[in-house]
């Protein structure tokens, strides 16, 4: 037995110490608080489809967390394999499950278009050309016919000059033509961004680029033209148009030049009309829209501001250019931060977050607010708090930054 002493010691100590270490790590990984959404006002059934994402800080490390009405899901509790996919967008994960083969290599939710019959995809990739190995942007286009489950995909070079970077703003399928709206950044010597917005039209059947149109020129971009994003919840839904905002220029006062166009304005680019048209804004919105959080959903433009009374949400219907709804919801504003907001089924869901900044003095837990769009009534109000008090975690340990309604 004596001759085995070294081996026995080596084996036992290794197993005990490494085992204990990972045992403690697993216990530690599970040693995160369970959170619940505590109802302050309204009925719980309102928030049963809500899920909140963010992270919990512990000893300087962040661990991703997802909180729903009945569970708290931590990333560190999951196997390596689960960790590989969980960072992905859940919307992408859903598409991946349904159309595994088509979804290969397609990761950007903003590059998708989805309707009842088709899923289209368009992204730009920077890659070396097979001819002279110089790097150039190309379009990567894909289309899935849901009825026949057949898909096509092809690659086409981005025409024109060499761009510094290209980002896809919107993808739409209009009368079996694929419209891809991109913001193309040019190389400049000044270090200033110079960009223009293009609409590319593709003939999917013949895999050809039919048209390349600049709808916002570099001059206009410089003047403050920008796109208004669709509601975060559903960036790939069919839209018949894309909306741009022009924010007022910052006029250099010392030059003293009078600027008559220094007012906010809204433009609509209707895909099947191929032109940019000015939308008349009511006087009450022209000032507000400069600093507001804006979203487009179908033909609705939501203008959201925080003011003394709370969250001021105005719905502007683009087709008839009128304000169709105007409500103020009693949500306390902490600063000038923008809250994650989802508007769905006549409800507005607001995640009133604590600030990311360290010097945030407020010590309030994140709040979930649900209001009725039509009436402005508060349907639900709750705060996200740990189920049990734990010294290691305080309200600042939990940072939530996104909100989903399933």
């Amino acid at each position: 037995m004596k001759q085995y002493i070294s081996s026995i010691l080596l084996v036992c100590l290794s197993i005990i110490i490494i085992g204990a270490y990972y045992g403690i790590m697993i216990v530690n990984a599970n040693d995160f608080p369970e959170y619940s959404i505590k109802t302050l006002e309204g009925h719980e059934s309102e928030m049963k489809d809500v899920s909140l994402s963010g992270f919990v800080e512990k000893e300087g490390m962040n661990t991703s967390v997802k909180i729903t009405s009945n569970e708290t899901l931590y990333l560190s509790n999951q196997s390596s394999l689960q960790r590989m996919t969980v960072y992905n967008d859940p919307r992408i994960e859903k598409l991946k499950k349904e159309h595994r083969s088509f979804m290969r290599g397609k990761n950007n939710i903003y590059s998708f278009y989805q309707d009842a019959d088709f899923i289209a995809y368009a992204e730009t990739v920077y890659k070396p050309s097979s001819l002279d190995h110089s790097y150039k942007y190309v379009f990567n286009i894909g289309l899935l016919d849901l009825a026949s489950d057949k898909d096509i995909s092809f690659e086409l070079g981005v025409p024109g000059e060499i761009f510094n970077s290209i980002s896809v703003l919107d993808v739409q399928l209009i009368q079996s033509k694929l419209k891809v709206v991109t913001k193309n950044y040019m190389y400049t010597n000044t270090g200033m961004d110079e960009a223009e917005v293009h609409v590319y039209t593709f003939d999917l059947g013949n895999q050809k680029l039919l048209n390349d149109e600049v709808i916002i020129t570099p001059q206009q971009v410089k003047m403050g033209y920008d796109v208004i994003n669709s509601m975060e919840q559903n960036p790939s839904q069919p839209q018949k148009s894309i909306i741009f905002i022009k924010r007022p220029e910052i006029v250099n006062q010392s030059e003293g030049s009078a600027n008559t166009t220094n007012k906010a304005a809204i433009f609509e680019y209707v895909y099947d009309k191929n032109h940019l048209k000015t939308i008349e804004l009511p006087e009450s919105l022209t000032d507000r829209i400069v600093t507001s959080q804006n979203y487009v959903n179908g033909d609705k433009l939501y203008v959201i501001n925080h003011d003394a009374k709370g969250l001021h949400l105005t719905t502007f219907t683009i087709t008839n250019q009128t304000i169709t709804n105007d409500q103020t919801f009693p949500i306390k504003s902490v600063g000038t931060e923008t809250f994650p907001i989802v508007i769905k089924n006549d409800r507005v869901y607001v995640l009133a977050t604590n600030d990311f900044e360290e010097n945030n003095s407020s010590n309030l837990p994140p709040q979930l607010f649900i209001g009725e769009m039509k009436t402005g009534k508060t349907m639900y109000k709750g705060e996200v708090i740990p189920k049990k008090v734990d010294q290691k975690f305080n309200t600042k340990s939990l940072v939530l930054y996104s909100l989903e309604i399933n």
Partner: protein, 278 residues
Amino acid sequence: MKSYIKLVNFEINRFIKIYVSLLVITLLSQFIGVIVTSSSFMNRAHEVMFEQNLSESGYLHKFGGIDFTDISSTLWFIGPIALCIVALIFYSFMIWYRDWFGKNTFAYRLLMLPTARISLYFSKASAILLFTFGLLAFQILILPLENTLFESLILENFLKTRMDVSVILQSNGILGIVIPPYFSDFLISYGIGMMFVFVLFTSILFERSFRLKGIVLGILYFIAAVLLFLSPLFAMANETVPDLYPEEIFALFLVLGILITGASIAIGNWLISKRVLV
């Protein structure tokens, strides 16, 4: 099985003296590192405070405090870990060649043992694995002691943050790789490590079986195994291969890993039972 255990034990006893020296070197170097680094920090802090007429908080405001990452990034600390890694890699070769070279050809004895020769192959691989785990365990064991010593040497106010062992391990590049935070990652890392030990052993057996020609065969086998294992990465860079999902890439690596390990053991078994020369 019984002779496999005896052989593992035999391999461990043969290396134990050098191994214990490695542990002692690690222990001494890291503890000296803790003492030297923290006392020189405190001395310098006092000197600077005296010269510049600073208060404690004034010094801390200007120069900041110290934490264990300042220790674990020194050569005192990293050096012995690197030494142990190099020693184990060297040992992976030595564990075979010492039986052939030297005055006494112990290989005769080993190959004439009344046991399946693959047991030799496995016993040598197991010895390497056990020594590796032993080193990890030793580092995990002495780290909290070093941390306690460090915290006792540094005045409370100068300590930036208290760190526990897991935080120290994760904040240090080399330790974070050697002792990954998740057990599944630990299995993956050391699974890959063992696969390369088997590949290396089989390459060595190629050389031991075919000598000069075997060197070429062994090197080719090693390169082929590495390239095969990394082939999913090449495939991902290739345009014509469809994009793979992360779980598919993982599955591919897993299958390739099992395949390469299996092939290495099978070829190793054939070489050591049928082709090896003394």
